[in-house]
Symmetry: C2
Subunit: 158 residues, 2 copies
Amino acid sequence: MKFMSLTIAGATALGLIAGTMVAAPVAAQDAEALINIRKAHMRLNGFNIGPLGAMAQGDIPYDAEVAAASAANLAAIASIDQTRYWAEGTGRPDAENTRALAAIWENPDDFRAKQDGLVTATAALADVAGNGLEALQGAMGGVGGACGACHRTYRAEQ
Amino acid sequence: MKFMSLTIAGATALGLIAGTMVAAPVAAQDAEALINIRKAHMRLNGFNIGPLGAMAQGDIPYDAEVAAASAANLAAIASIDQTRYWAEGTGRPDAENTRALAAIWENPDDFRAKQDGLVTATAALADVAGNGLEALQGAMGGVGGACGACHRTYRAEQ
């Protein structure tokens, strides 16, 4: 049996701090791997937010099937346990190539609460996204708010 | 309200072929975006397979919490609807920078069945991964088999 790569980050980022959804420090090469994983995760979010935002804003026609699938995808992505992503020292100023701020590790409980906010908002969106444009629009505010709440506090502007 | 980017692929890859989990052709710049999304998805798989494979093979100690979280993550990732990823013409030889083969679009039902195989195998893994090393090892074969079944048929060797 042969498994995929990325076992380095897997094997070294296992010193978890229970309940806070941040992890113990890792070596520099592992920090880079974790930053890339976080970016991959965010890319999947963006890919699914894309058509939902475009529909909500009237840029493309509402499509119930695509709306429902994209919203369900967002909820599935939000449900991913991110503990191993957030090893201490993998934000600014310790690490480059990331907009994650050190405030994440200074406020792990609030960071976790903001992630949980996205779980709640995407679940609510998934419940209604296939029920018409107005239902979609009504639930998108919660998702945009959850994204923004975390980004405003824990992501660098540039 | 401001949403994330990637709306181009979102807006243009909406010509779905129902039930087959492949989508209508897209422009070249959108093909590149879709290929990158598929790679991001696969990266998340690799990140979560990493510690599970290392535990199963005895390279790192078994950790029930990490095993359960990683397996649940794999199941969540497998549940993501991939229809929009697989626009026709985004495999070889039409597209570069991808190992996806044209056979995907020649056998959409089989491709879908193989994706469903991963959904089943990762759900079975998630059910038992926290129950000890032997339980984990017993369920990893199914996941490895599901990965390999699709890769052997639909992914170029290099």
